[in-house]
Symmetry: C2
Subunit: 144 residues, 2 copies
DNA sequence: TCAATATGGTGGCAATTGCCACTTCATTAC
DNA sequence: GTAATGAAGTGGCAATTGCCACCATATTGA
């Protein structure tokens, strides 16, 4: 079946959904879902973040972050502590449990990327990655 | 805020969610949601399709297509008729109402694409589009 | 021919997400 | 200092999606 008349919107949708299914399956062994894994990754990357910072970096609604972070606290992957300077905000930090799965989660992401780019040359892969990042940053910058 | 330590998985997620929000807003004037618009586009592209063909082309679960198609029939954008050769399948065809919005939906998709690639050169835009399509096709081919 | 298997489609349930209204605390303007 | 505005976070609701069990019809194999 040829995929003529295709457009980038459809491609992005397919890549998003499939990569989430892959990541969900890959993370099940750690009792994590894909969105939980993404938050652990970003919290480990930055060591300390507020919920609002996560919201901005992932460009997700703040209520979505609140729900996922609550669950991650319950399951012991992160710790929340009230910020001393601003009592409205939480400082979010990874626990040892998070640091333990961190390298495996990065590996899972890598597997996803390799899977969807397996027909690309190394140059194409690097260029695609660069342009994806450029587009995502452009998109984030658009909203105020 | 610098977006260091970023990865393509996160970029794809952001692009998917934002483009859907944009398309939803753009399609509201036609009383359509983004997923409904995508199905109208593909049905108009191919003139006649079964639900299963839509499922394969969009790489969505068949029950999702069934639900959306049912709604589109109720709102008069498509017609379902039982296939003569296989009574289990429907032939799905666009109505005049679908053909009327079709060019505008294509325009909306174009606006989305322009928005997220506005910092790219024409060459980069074309290359990104090509690689997106390649990755999406690779992804679809992976599942059996 | 007839049983076993495969395929297209439907309905139910749970998870993720987006939007909105709301609370609490900070900051700004007067 | 106090009122008005803004920002961080929460909870509720609806829409989309994925998975599973199921039904009806085709196809295959003995």
């Amino acid at each position: 079946m040829p995929y003529i008349m295709d457009n980038p919107f459809k491609s992005i949708s397919i890549l998003y959904r499939k990569s989430h299914i892959w990541l969900n399956n890959g993370c099940a062994q750690y009792d994590l879902t894909a969105p939980q894994a993404v938050i652990i990754l970003i919290v480990c990357d930055f060591k300390t973040l507020t919920q609002d910072e996560i919201t901005k970096r992932l460009s997700l609604d703040k209520s979505v972050i609140a729900k996922t972070v609550t669950k991650l606290e319950e399951t012991g992957f992160i710790i929340r502590s009230t910020n001393a300077k601003d009592k409205r905000t939480y400082d979010i930090r990874p626990t040892d449990k998070a640091w333990k799965v961190y390298p495996f989660l990065k590996e899972e992401l890598d597997i996803c990327f390799q899977r969807m780019t397996q027909r690309m040359t190394d140059d194409e892969r690097a260029e695609w990655k660069r342009l994806l990042l450029l587009a995502a940053e452009t998109t984030i910058a658009l909203e105020d």
